[in-house]
């Protein structure tokens, strides 16, 4: 896939679906000795989500199971839709039906085998730099950033530049904060 082809696909994107683990995180799980788990996230992605929203592109999380950490991150990143299912394709069907959107108007970011089906379907399939070989093979765009270090930030810039909205969004966010 050439960059030009990916840009062409990015122009049509109206909705971004993000896998959480391996995309928003680097897949590492930290446990304390009292059994509490934490995961590490990047504030770059908070900017990415804010930029997409500012440009009118909704973002949703789609992961096999929504945990409390995911809910906290969703509220920090101002994500209204958190879907917990491993049947990712039927979830896409439902969202399409609800919003009247088509496959090509979706961007999906995923890093593993479970994501390949949906990645083949959507308009713009994206994989982080350190995604599995299988996911990278079906991606239209592979970010330079690895999972957990600002994949959504890079993706937002890529889509919004393709759509000619980046500069306006940057100017706005610099004034109003996010």
């Amino acid at each position: 896939m050439t960059k030009q082809a990916a840009i062409k696909k990015a122009k049509k994107v109206k909705f971004a679906i993000l896998d959480i683990h391996g995309v928003l995180t680097d897949l590492t799980l930290y446990y304390t000795d009292d059994g509490k788990k934490s995961e590490i996230y990047s504030l770059h992605d908070r900017l990415g989500c804010a930029a997409l929203k500012e440009a009118g592109i909704e973002a949703a999380f789609l992961t096999s199971k929504v945990t409390r950490i995911d809910q906290y991150i969703g509220s920090i990143y101002k994500i209204d839709r958190l879907y917990g299912t491993s049947a990712k394709m039927s979830q896409l069907d439902e969202i399409e039906k609800e919003l009247g959107l088509t496959d090509e108007e979706f961007c999906y970011v995923g890093d593993e085998i479970i994501d390949i089906g949906i990645m083949k379907r959507v308009g713009l399939a994206v994989a982080p730099a350190d995604a599995s070989t299988e996911a990278k093979a079906v991606a239209d765009y592979i970010t330079k950033t690895p999972g957990g270090r600002g994949v959504v930030r890079e993706l937002a810039e890529f889509i919004l530049r393709a759509q000619g909205k980046w500069d306006t969004v940057v100017e706005k966010l610099s004034k109003i904060g996010y």
């Binding site: 509490k36 590490i40 996230y41 990047s42 504030l43 945990t67 950490i69 966010l173």
Partner: protein, 186 residues
């Protein structure tokens, strides 16, 4: 990480005039990441050595200010409190407006301001101030407009490195090192 060629002598000339060091918090004092646990508690990591940089500036009469837009929590404030820095502007919506206010308050010109930033919301300020500094892992657009790019990445000693650079340019480093070695700096 892309590297950009910078004119070091020009940066040194600019550093001589610095009276205020203002900086973004995340991506400069931290590596832009945070931990989130199952209770929703978040953790941020800062670096001890940057504190030496901050306190050195303060002790030698160079003002220090945090200009933060992205904080979810109060981590920047806590760090500032620990360092006894009065100027921590937290969750500022318009950083440029805040910086202009600060310049007025301190009676200094934009040429006397050093600003350290790492992302797009810092670009306008970086173009305005006397000495614009970016961490090694800042985004390319920011590094492009910076006068000086530190070898340290965000959260790994950017301010420590900047402190040495500015104080050396101002001819104050040697004396300061001697004083610290004798008396400490706290």
């Amino acid at each position: 990480m892309t590297s950009f060629k910078k004119d070091l002598n020009k940066a040194i000339e600019k550093a001589k005039r610095v009276k205020l060091v203002a900086q973004d918090v995340h991506g400069v004092l931290t590596n832009n990441t945070f931990f989130c646990d199952v209770e929703g508690r978040r953790q941020y990591s800062f670096l001890h050595q940057d504190g030496f940089g901050h306190l050195s500036f303060k002790r030698l009469g160079t003002e220090v200010a945090f200009l933060d837009t992205t904080s979810i929590d109060n981590e920047g404030l806590y760090r500032a409190q620990e360092l006894k820095l009065e100027s921590c502007y937290h969750r500022v919506k318009d950083k440029m407006a805040k910086l202009k206010e600060l310049e007025k308050e301190l009676g200094i010109s934009p040429e006397e301001v050093c600003y350290v930033g790492c992302d797009i919301t810092d670009l306008a300020i970086m173009k305005r101030v006397g000495l614009a500094v970016a961490p090694a892992d800042a985004i390319d657009e920011v590094k492009k407009v910076a006068d000086y790019v530190t070898t340290a990445s965000g959260g790994r000693g950017v301010i420590r490195e900047l402190c040495e650079f500015v104080l050396k340019a101002q001819g104050r480093w040697e004396n300061w090192v001697e004083e610290v070695a004798k008396m400490g700096y706290k």
